[in-house]
């Protein structure tokens, strides 16, 4: 019996959804365990960094990494995994393109921390405690000081491939069990796709598998843009043709149009297609194209554009961190993080 492939699974800035998707494989999970050995998986088992360090270089067959790179710790861990692994896969939208946490790149780190720890209405933080690199805790009872070191945040959130070399991507927020399963099958078959490929999903955009594609009028032209929280979509009619900002046309298929089945426009978690270099740029181009006004009706055009309060959040919901303009320009070195605090 030949040795089973060794799999490592690590999480960075993740919400836990990707891990859930693994569990969602349900009974297929058993087949996975049959096929592979899991050598590192902090979400499920207590592995330590030393455990990985001890492994010979290149001994892990596949490392699946989900979540964006937000902390120094993430950076160090993924670099380590890269060294130890033959194949590194960016698992899920955060790892592939930054994901929703990547939208924090619209703010510099100080702004983001202030927002997170001070301004958010659900936060109560009268002492204005913010993360600190090192905390020295005095323990008078023991007459000693304990040192706690917190991993330092990076100035911006980075997708995995801006930190290490990535072999493959599995898209989705999170990837659907089917997409994950397809990807696993493809990888385990030994018939490896070319490097950089997005595996498990479709090569066409979502419209291809969307049942509403057939309901499109001949020409997709709209007079206004609508938001699902403000307007009610008509059932069984292409959402884009109704004016909803559906990202389906620019988004890789493979999810079987789950959101659309729930009458919600696609928000783009499967990311861009081959040949597209900037997801949001492309989205702008087609949203600009379907707005059916000539330039003389200048005001109508502005009105339609102004009716959407957060364009960047819409067109880069999952991919800002990997966009050509991946963060707000003019970001300064953060000042709010103190080196040492003693309490």
């Amino acid at each position: 019996m030949s040795e089973k492939p060794k799999v490592a699974w690590y999480w960075c800035a993740s919400c836990g959804g990707c891990e859930e998707s693994f569990v969602d494989l349900a009974e297929r999970l058993l087949k996975v365990f049959e096929a592979v050995d899991i050598v590192f998986c902090p979400v499920a088992m207590d592995f330590k960094r030393e455990d990985v360090e001890k492994l010979p270089d290149g001994s892990i067959t596949v490392a699946l990494i989900n979540g964006g790179i937000r902390l120094k710790e993430h950076e160090e861990m993924v670099k380590l995994l890269r060294k130890k692994s033959k194949i590194v896969i960016a698992y899920g939208a955060c790892s592939a393109w930054g994901g929703i946490p990547g939208l924090a790149n619209l703010y510099n780190l100080d702004e983001a921390l202030e927002r997170k720890y001070l301004e958010v209405p659900t936060i109560e933080n009268p002492k204005e405690v913010l993360p600190t690199k090192k905390i020295i805790v005095n323990i008078p009872e023991a007459k000693m000081k304990a040192e706690l070191e917190l991993p330092e945040p990076l100035p911006v959130l980075l997708p995995l491939d801006k930190v290490i070399d990535v072999d493959y991507y599995i898209p989705g927020c999170p990837p659907t069990p089917d997409v994950f399963w397809n990807a696993l099958q493809a990888l385990l078959s030994g018939n490896l796709p070319p490097k950089g490929a997005i595996v498990g999903a479709s090569n066409r955009s979502l419209c291809d598998e969307c049942s509403l594609n057939e309901t499109k009028p001949e020409k997709v032209l709209v007079k206004e843009f609508k938001r699902p929280d403000k307007a009610k979509p008509e059932p069984n009619k292409c959402l884009l043709a109704q004016g909803f900002l559906c990202m389906g046309p620019v988004t890789r298929g493979g999810c079987t149009a789950l959101c659309i089945k729930g009458n919600m426009p696609c928000t783009g978690c499967f990311g861009l297609l081959d040949g597209i270099v900037d997801y949001g740029g492309k989205a702008i181009s087609y949203f600009g194209s379907i707005l059916d006004y000539s330039p003389v009706e200048d005001k109508e055009i502005k009105k339609a554009f102004d009716s959407i309060p957060d364009w960047v959040g819409t067109i880069y919901k999952y991919s800002l961190a990997s966009a050509k303009l991946s963060h707000k320009a003019g970001a300064k070195k953060p000042k709010r993080i103190k080196e040492v605090v003693e309490i």
Partner: protein, 145 residues
């Protein structure tokens, strides 16, 4: 951006439609007009061909400014209404630039007819002056040390 003799020389990428603006840039040449050498012109058939992705690529690669130029609305467009489409796409594109903190002066959508060589020269002069004042864009984009 290229640095020679210490002074900041911005690099400006221009996407020009074949029939109007590119013709104007040619006319500026044949008329021996003079303008700063900071522009690099990329020819497309119609301003309606210009994809915001190109502009983003240019900024990401180090352009300090970008000009997208086509035929005057309403009727100059060789392809009926490509300029309308460019207008709509790049009006929306401006919102992206604004959110991403890129100064509006770094991006211009211009209508320059085949006869308006002097307008072309004026646009280049203005753009170069403005962008020089703003300074290079790239360092602003580099947050990792």
């Amino acid at each position: 951006m290229s640095e020679t003799k210490g002074e900041f020389e911005p690099k400006i990428v221009v996407y020009a439609c074949n029939w109007c603006t590119y013709a104007a840039t040619d006319l500026a040449g044949t008329s021996r007009m003079s303008y700063p050498p900071n522009v690099r012109i990329i020819r497309v058939m119609c301003s309606g061909r210009i994809d915001p992705q190109f502009v983003l690529q240019a900024f990401a690669d180090g352009a300090d400014g970008v000009i997208v130029a086509g035929c005057h609305p309403p009727a100059d467009c060789h392809y009926i209404e490509g300029n309308y489409k460019a207008y709509r796409r790049f009006e929306l594109f401006r919102k992206l630039l604004e959110t991403m903190g890129i100064e509006q002066e770094r991006f211009r959508l211009e209508w320059i007819s085949a006869a308006e060589a002097s307008r072309w020269v004026q646009v280049v002069n203005e753009m170069v002056t403005q962008v020089k004042k703003l300074g290079p864009l790239k360092p602003n984009l580099e947050v990792r040390e």
